[in-house]
Structures are given as structure tokens and as C-alpha cells.
């Protein structure tokens, strides 16, 4: 309510993407819908995206947040690539969050790679949308300050 107007002049835009070969899209689709219901603009990329495709989509769509769902166990590998691609494209200011079947021991590794938050199985939709909203607001503030 107290956000400056420029922050909410258009709805926050989130890319929801699945990287790698895994087809478990239940979570990604539920999150995409929850975000839409919460007023976000959502671009769902579908499955089997490469890190490069996702980074490009985020840049082209001028996304406020990137949400990645991975249930294949290949999260470290793919997120590392995604972060590299975002950097290459000068888009590493777009915050990245990750969800999926991720062992607790990998949470710190993902955060070291620059991931802002990691959602483990059983996470509530409310917390996920709250975190994404906060990250989107922060980014818009920063972009405005530049």
C-alpha cells in the first residue's frame, strides 16, 4: 500500500520455467496459476527449456523475477548455467528463485550461485507469492534508482 506508484504501474512479471529434460510440470503450473491469481503477469515457458532460452525470455519479456522448477536432480548444473547466461546478457539483476525436489544440503549451494530463495517440497503458495512479490518490488526500486 505504501509502495511508490512507479513500482506497481504495471503488474509484476514472472517467468515460470522448467529447465532440463524433466517433465514434472505439476508444481510449475500450480505456481503459475497461484501467481496469476495473486495479480502477477505470468509467462510460463513450458518444459525442456535450456538455460539460454530462459535467460533470453527473461530479457525479452523484461521480467521482474525468474522462477525455475526442477525435479530432475540436475538443479546445480542447470542453475549454474542459467546464472552464467544471465550475466552474459547483462540481466543478472533479475532475481532467480528455484523450487523442486531439492535436498536441503543443496540449498546453500544454490544460494552461493546467486539464487535468492529456494522452495522445497511442501512450501506454501502464500510464502512463494510473498517472496516473489518482495523480490519484484526490490528490483523495480533498484531499476528506478539506476
Amino acid at each position: 500500500m505504501s509502495s511508490p506508484q512507479y513500482i506497481e504501474e504495471r503488474p509484476f512479471k514472472v517467468i515460470v520455467a522448467k529447465i532440463g529434460l524433466d517433465g514434472h510440470d505439476r508444481g510449475a503450473k500450480v505456481i503459475a496459476r497461484a501467481l496469476k491469481d495473486a495479480g502477477f503477469e505470468v509467462v510460463y515457458t513450458g518444459i525442456r527449456q535450456t538455460p539460454e532460452q530462459v535467460a533470453r525470455a527473461a530479457v525479452e519479456e523484461d521480467a521482474d523475477v525468474i522462477g525455475i522448477s526442477i525435479l530432475s536432480g540436475a538443479h546445480i548444473h542447470h542453475i549454474q548455467r542459467l546464472m552464467e547466461k544471465l550475466k552474459e546478457m547483462g540481466a543478472d539483476d533479475i532475481p532467480v528463485v528455484v523450487g523442486g525436489t531439492i535436498p536441503v544440503i543443496d540449498v546453500d549451494k544454490l544460494k552461493e550461485l546467486g539464487v535468492k530463495d529456494v522452495f522445497l517440497p511442501g512450501e506454501s503458495l502464500r510464502r512463494i507469492t510473498d517472496v516473489i512479490r518482495t523480490l519484484a518490488e526490490e528490483r523495480r526500486r533498484k531499476v528506478r534508482l539506476l
Binding site: 524433466d22 505439476r26 500450480v30 503459475a32 518444459i47 525436489t101 536441503v104 544440503i105
Partner: protein
Amino acid sequence: MGELYNKDEVEKIRKHIDKWESDVVPQWLKRVPERSNNFTTLSGIPIKRVYTPADLNNFDYEEKLGLPGEYPFTRGIHATMYRARLWTMRMFSGYGGPEETNRRLKFLIEHGETGLSLAFDYPTLVGVDPDDPMAEGEVGIVGVSVPTVVDMEVVFNGIDMGSVTTNMTINPPAPVLLSFYVAVAEKQGVPYNKIGGTTQNDPLKEFIAQKSYVFPPEPAVKVAMDLIEWSVKNLPLWNPISISGYHIREAGATAVQELAFTLADGIEYVRQLKARGLDVDEFAPRLSFFFDAHINFFEETAKFRAARRMWAKIMRDWFGAKKPRSWWLRFHTQTAGVSLTAQQPWNNIVRTAIEALAAVLGGTQSLHTNSFDEPFRVPSEFAAKIALRTQQIIAYETGVADTIDPLAGSYYVEWLTDQIEEEAWKYIDRIERMGGMLEAVKKGFPQREVADAAYRFQKDVEDGRRFIVGVNIFVENEVEDIRKVPLLEFDQKGIEERQRKRIAQVRSSRDQQRWSRALDELRKAAERGDNIMPYVLQAVKAYATLGEIMNTLKEVYGTYVEPPIY
């Protein structure tokens, strides 16, 4: 005719219930209200306070149940069921390379598993070689990497393929993996009529749920039917398809949707095979099914019973199958992966046991029990052994396998079986009106239904209408405990490297002329619309790799890109 309860008796019971609801129940409710004013099954079927013969109106025993081994098979497909032979304990397993998986298979056999089931890694599932850029970082993680016939040989090193049956959870590349299997069995000296097992080979549910599709729907179905036709004629013991509700359920469907969509898939396949000029009694006995056993205990058992009754009717009355074997719905069951929680993961052992019990009481032919550590990773030996032991305890200690279909006659279970059947027929009707499941899938109908159900479920959990222990009730702050779960560790990078080296070796040591001729002949056969199976087998024997064969087919059939439905 032949109603189980006579009308006067039922009328008496009805009056009694009315009196009980108006005189007795309110006094109890005044003292302690019920825990909910809207009890439903996990699928949303409303549940009454109590069930009586009055709920089984016009219940004709012979028509609805009969006896085990007899139409409509509600009570089981065999006359003796588990009194003669227990269900097959078939643990879905595989990780790393063929060496690691060979060790895991032997470990499970040694501990009493009675059938094999291979889990493949993602590159194998979608038909990509380990040295393809798309495979980077994914080789061997969720299953075993098997890109060549040489890898399959290592998987079965020291395992007699003539005396075990093997399920392979593989879909678009099923013709390739079956060819690997057949080629290795042949090398072991096993004749075709002794090769037993299952290829999942169910393309429609790939578009609905599992999403390891490669080709667009029509060629995908064509390829699957090729495999079935070839297998029926060449491998008498093979189950060429496992028509699967499991993935549909795991993607969020209700029990009713799982059942209805699976049977509708089956109906589509029967039509496709008949259209090829095959006699229904030639292939129907080889069709098999695969369902989920979720946590809502009675609903699951009722679902399995309804499934058998419905399929028997479909095969006998719709398709005119004559052999009783053609009316059987034989099925594998897996406990519900989605019911497992990352929170307090040890509780998953209990969930799996309850789900496995529902599958056994539902008359499953084979069973996989999930391991408690699967919310995190492919199971460790320790966890997989507990899951196997769970089945063995049910089989050898509880006594539930000693009489057939012991839940029959429960007013609730019979009512629920009828209810699920009735709701499932409604869905099947709708799909029929769309022109069958292939058309329904192209329209995105089942995809949308499943996505809606998944969202509804999540909202229910979110809003506290559904409880999950450790997730939204009896929650603990236990990050440190979860860290202590001993997860399976293996050198994924090293295995990926080894798999790349092996495939490079296969590529450089094969007869290049024979290899390129085989792929060329495969391409031409696919273009002509011939059955591709003999050509795939020929290419496999010429050491063509999984990716090479799939790429050849992709050139002819194209690839599928899914419209986003959520």
C-alpha cells in the same frame, strides 16, 4: 434380479436410519460436533456418516461382483489370487550407469524382489544420447543411462533374462529399448517365447501427464501400436503396453479422473489396433495397466475394483472380445510419490505401507513401494530395502493375502466402488463424444482437467481443508534432522563421462556401412508407414544408438511442442 437385500428389509433399515439421524445423532453432535461438516474422499466424493444395505439399492451380487476369476472380475482376475501366487514385488530402480544399476538389481533380487523394473535417466526417457548437449548434467540422475545395446548388456550382466521378467518405464523410445532387451536376451540364448516383461509404451498419457513425449500425438500413437503389433506376433509373454493412470494421478488428477482417462486411453488403443486388422482376442490378453495407490485408503481399493469391472464390460460388450483373458484388467501399482513429504521423511514409510495395503486389497498383479527418501533423490539401498520389506510384511505377516477381496461386501466399499464407476463412465462418455482420447488430448481436455484438480488440491492444503502431517499439521522445525537422512551418493559427473566414452567407443568400433544402411532402411520404413519394429531391431543390432534412431524417426515424424495449459 437377485438383489442382495430384500426390499422390506432395506425399507426397515431406511426407517431406522431416519430415526437415528433425527433422534440419536443430534444428541451426540450437541456434545461433540463432528471434525468436519464436509467429509470427502481425496477425490472429493462426499462421504456419509455411515453406510448400510440401504446404500446398495438393487445390488445384484452376481452382476456386480461374481466370483474371483469370473466376469466381471470385480473380486479379482484369478480364481485363487494370492492364495496361489503373491503379487510380483517389482521395485522401480536404476541410477547412474549400467554398472551401478546392475549392482542395485542384484541387491534387490538377493533381498527377495520377484520382478525387475528399470528406471531410466531423462536422456534415455526422451531419446537423447549422453553426449548430446541436452543431456548435460542429467545422465544417470533419475535412472540408468542406456543409450546402446552394449549398455543394456551390462545392466543384465549375470542376470538370466529367461527367468526374470522386466518392466521398462519407457515411452517414445520404447521400440529402441525393447530392441536392446531382445538383442541382449538373444545373446544370452533366451528364445523369443521365453522373453517376458513390459514396456510402458503408453503415448497418450505422455501428453496428459508424464511429459516425456517426443513425437506429435498421431505418430506417437502409431509407433506405440507398431510395438504392440510386433510384440503380439513375436513375443508371446511380453506386455507391450502398460496403460498408465499413475502419472495422470501424480500430475494432480482425482481417482475418478485417473481411472476414466486410463480406460479412455485403453479404448483408443483397442480401436487403433482393430483398425490395423488385428483380432481383438489376439492382442487384448497382452494389454496391461498401471495405477497409483494414493493415501485415501478405501477410495483406492474401490478404484481398483471398479477398474476391473469397467474394463471387462468394455472388452466384452463394446469390442466383442470372446476370450475371458481379453476381459482381464491386469495391473501394476505404485504407491503415491506425491503423497511423500520432505518434512519428517521417516513418516513416508508409514504412508507407503498404507498405500501398498490398499493396492493388495485391490488385487494388484505387481507392486512397487516407494522409498522414504524419494522426495529428495533416487533411493539409497537402505531405503529401498525397507520399501521392499514393507511388501514382504504385508505378504507374509498380516494375513491379508489369505482370502480373496476381503473388503467386498463392506457397505461403504461397495457403494464407493459403484460411485467411482458411475463418475468414471461420465468422463468416458464425454471423451467418446469428443471422438476418443486422441482427439481429446489434441483439444487439451484431460490436460486442463488434471491441472484444475492439481490446483484445487493445493488450495485445499493451503487453506487447511486437507491435512498433511508435517506439512500443515504437526509441523516441526527440523532442517537439521532432514540433513541427517542418508541420501544415495554417486559420482554423477564421472558416470556422465564414462557413458560418453562408452558411446564414442561403440560409434567408432561398429561396421559403419551396416550401421548407415540400417538407419537408412529405418527412415524409409517410417516414411512408407510400415511397422518400424523390425527396422529398429536391425538398427540396434548394427549398434545404432538410441539418439541416432530417435533422430532418424524425428526427421520423419516431427517433434511435439506443448501448448501451455495451466
